[in-house]
Point group: D2
Chain length 349, copies 4
């Protein structure tokens, strides 16, 4: 089969002919890839930012990146009972054991024995990939792999944070979404679907804000230095019950808590920066700061329901898999509108 592989850090990916993955365990599932989302993490991986994690996991080069995957079940292990050959599926990104306390509580991301294909094992930039039965979610007939692949990580992460926030968002509350890019524009749609809150979107890009308005933002604020003040104005000087931050760096993580109402909650999704919050501020306003890590299997299944109902749609730009380096350059250079989706040769045929 064909696959895009990384042979060494700081190199472009190489489009190689490689052996197809094989079933070796009873829960294994081989998926014929339909589409794989391109994530900024793929650039970080290429640039060696994940070296420690990859070496720690014993990853051997060359290997196949790609962790936002959807396609069709091609072959199944002897103990797989939840999918059949031919099913269209999206894949939860973490291969989990199903046996630890976290798995038994539905907290997939905290599995004691999780494996993340695309990062520490071969992923989905290929004609076929190997995953587990526990990763497969059957898609509604109305959904195609290329339309949803990016939900496997980007969408799931946005949905997971929104679902937590939804518990606090009753009529009359305000939710601030910082960053209306890949994840943020999904979050806006999820907030709209799950809550009656008024949605205020903050971003540097007027184009991104325009899109945000079209998909459900009630108010948009250009991040031009006056944005904290504007958010306070839009919240009667009180701040918002929830601030959902998809940036988490370059000072945004310092600004975000300033937009909170007393007893409000700051949801951290983007990263790269550091909190710098006085403990006195934490207690005198009784705010909370909540980390968010991808999401659960059931979260992804719920998100697929919203996608099937047309309540959440992705803006994408497709590339043939052999153009992956071009796609990465476009992403890096800010030329990629929407989420980049890689289509392997087998699916394009």
């Amino acid at each position: 089969m064909k696959a895009a592989r990384l042979h060494a850090y700081d190199q472009e990916l190489s489009f190689d002919e490689v052996d197809e993955p094989q079933i070796t365990g009873p829960h294994d599932v081989i998926v014929r890839m339909g589409a794989a989302g391109l994530c900024r993490t793929d650039i970080h991986i290429r640039d060696g930012d994940w070296r420690v994690a990859q070496e720690g996991a014993g990853l051997q080069f060359p290997y196949i990146p790609g962790h936002e995957n959807a396609g069709w079940v091609h072959q199944i292990g002897s103990a797989v009972s939840n999918v059949e050959v031919g099913n269209t599926v999206i894949l939860h990104p973490l291969v989990t054991c199903g046996l630890c306390r976290a798995c038994r509580a539905g907290d997939d991301m905290h599995c004691s024995n999780g494996l993340f294909p695309g990062l520490v094992a071969d992923g989905g930039f290929a004609d076929f990939m190997k995953t587990g039965a526990r990763n497969c979610i059957k898609l509604d007939p109305g959904l195609e792999p290329k339309d949803v692949a990016a939900h496997a990580d980007a969408g799931l992460t946005a949905y997971h944070a929104v679902r937590k926030a939804a518990n606090l968002l009753y009529p009359g509350t305000k939710a601030v979404v910082i960053g209306a890019g890949g994840l943020g524009h999904i979050a806006v749609q999820c907030l709209k679907a799950l809550t009656p809150a008024e949605i205020i979107v903050v971003d540097k890009s007027e184009a991104a804000l325009k899109l945000a308005e079209q998909i459900g933002a009630d108010e948009t604020v250009v991040a031009d230095g006056s944005h904290i003040e504007k958010v306070m104005d839009l919240t009667d000087g009180q701040g918002a019950e929830a601030v959902i931050d998809f940036v988490g760096e370059r000072g945004v993580e310092k600004e975000a808590p300033q937009m909170l109402r007393r007893a409000g909650t700051y949801y951290v999704i983007g990263y790269g920066g550091a909190l710098d919050l006085l403990t006195h501020t934490m207690i005198s306003t009784e705010i909370s700061v909540v980390g968010n890590l991808v999401g659960t299997y059931n979260d992804l299944a719920e998100l697929m329901t919203l996608a099937a109902q047309g309540k959440v749609t992705l803006h994408t730009a497709t590339y043939p898999l052999d153009a992956v380096n071009e796609a990465m350059a476009d992403l890096d250079g800010g030329r990629l509108q929407g989420r980049g989706i890689m289509i392997p040769p087998g699916a394009a045929a």
Copy 2:
């Protein structure tokens, strides 16, 4: 009546003869003071650390500090229906409006119109003080003002944080209490009463740890530089589901999150320092940081139930009110064992 008053910042309190407070509104309650707890905040007030808040509220000097108050109902306004003259009461520290959204949800500390006697109005270092009907909780006949007064703020704050943490603490979980002093030793007892968690107490003082063991700590750890490592050992290298921090300064606020298990929660109660948490840490372990501010009226009522049942007891040292400066010196100098309790002349008689 007699009262201990602050005439200017950085001065000792003065023991003065002053007019008794009068009923002026329909919800007013005049309480004959039985006991008032001495809090480190009272020292901060004397030293001018709360100048901004006090000036902002228009406080006039001299005024009467004291915000941990209990006594007997002496006189009631025309609309007071929940207490009668002669009732023994403990007083929730915040005078609230009862009409805003927060009050209507039971979130007393977030009242839009709250007033904090002892800080921005006359408090309880006196023979009588004025409070509101909404502040009064009738005491079980087995409880005396001097035994519970310090619960009005210190105990309430500890209880409120423990009650939040209790939601996460099922059998097999671990709770770390940092700081086994005034609030911490109440928290240990509340954890014991409310949860099946194993309780690990961290403190610099071996004496404080010894007390902690007697009142319910399962494990104690001296904060000698190896304490993070020891907590990790006591939690099978995983960390604790809850870390409850009554220090919140001097670097403790940096150490505390390091003792958390994946998906764990750090409860901030002590203050003075600043969080310094990478957003990458927040998301990769999916931890939460939760601020805590005093507690609700119902929290205090519940704590009084625990006190009446003998499940939570305070370690106190009583002083006559005219020895308040001595008590403050003892507290400041580390010579005060347990919580200092001021007894006004009228109650001592």
Copy 3:
């Protein structure tokens, strides 16, 4: 002022000239009535069905019914701080003490000292009525008393049940609403605003179902004997996560639990019948049955937000107050489309 009064059970209401209510306590609020909803309970009251409750409360005839009230603040007691003369307000139906455990937890309906005007004291079928400060919710300028009065009880009750159910309703779940009349058609709109659930409405009336479809029902089922089967078909043979029953009598209360999915919840709002559920059914499917009683002050405030946002609208038919008996006859005779709204002479002027 003018008022419609009941002089004796089983008689028509009489349109009388009576004294205006007076401020007697510090929290009292006199409201100039703008509109009062007519409720089936008013017919039950006239027919003596509430005799026991009314006599138990010492109600003297003649008295003024009307418990769904909205208007303008006319006069306020000395301690009222949340509204001013001239404010447009809707009134929470229960006058509460604000001091008991339930009130302090925001559970208004379980106030230990509640008083229900319109049932055990004079209500809103008049030019003026007396209520309390705790009952007043200021209306958005876009809302008029006649458009929202019926929310004070009917809407609030529907909203309260939906808000409980919303906790269980994630994408892909189904909610069955039984009875698409006065309360049910509000519930459908609230479900739409608060949850991503698919909404299935069951009613005997095709006209009611048609309206339900226009305001958000995803599926409608005529209650013709095959409705349980049809609901099971619409839920893949599994049943619904939530069944919200606005009938609760005439056998509906026996049918409703049969539409539940395993671990589902049956919300009882309508009444008149009796549950007849085997304990074996309760445990083998692990279902819950949840009673619902009106709602909280904050519930009503949230519903007013939805009304102001245009997300929940009432279908009404207005009558001048002196036509109240005609309105009651129309309601009793099934000739009243939407909720009947009484307009007192003062408001009509």
Copy 4:
């Protein structure tokens, strides 16, 4: 191996020599039995009360009952990673798929593909039994199979209900436990471990009540006809926040809700009777009725923690497995004090 088998309904079990179970699937686990609890359900099975369920599942006679099982891992399938041969284990009673929505949410009892050994497949009245990897919970070294086996169903069911109730039970609340037998006496200990509630136990047997007092009941009430009244007296005429009913038949299910406080919750565990509750009662007091079905894998793991900590202990009477009919006669005849525990020949050796 030796096994006690049922050859036909209404016959005694026969002590037979049978083939040992074999590993056939990758998740299979063969357990060398240490102990199996005897449950009233085993008598019902023998008497044919479960004929429909057993025939529906295609069960062939003779078969081996026994669904409260603990022992040592004897052999494991190729994909089993959570236990090793030699581990001491208790077995969750339902063999689950791990793949359906319920399993992925930790709701084991609602698995779409569950299998209940001892009821519809061979169970634990034998030297060996076959279960799944997902059923095994490793025991603390301080626990022996015979001490905990009955927790696998009886204890788990009691714990599951208490854990739900614990959410409502803050200091000052009351919990009524009806039936202080096999499950009830575990519930009392679980309530003590998890909550600060006052525990009131109601039973017909003075001996059972005496035991209840020793293990944590605060108050005991003989069910002699005056028990509802006595519970009301013990709850200040208000009723209890939680009523946990382990009888559920013979009229107890009619009495239980009468002991509820407004907004209280009735937990149904015992069965055999039928609820007869007016919908008017449900709504006017806003009570809830909650069914309870066994419990989750994590519930059982938590209960094992309480057992290892000595917080929950079982009162048992052991019998060699070949005396199973005698044990059943003792249970049926009311001569069995505590839970009957069958010890197979292999474990007794």
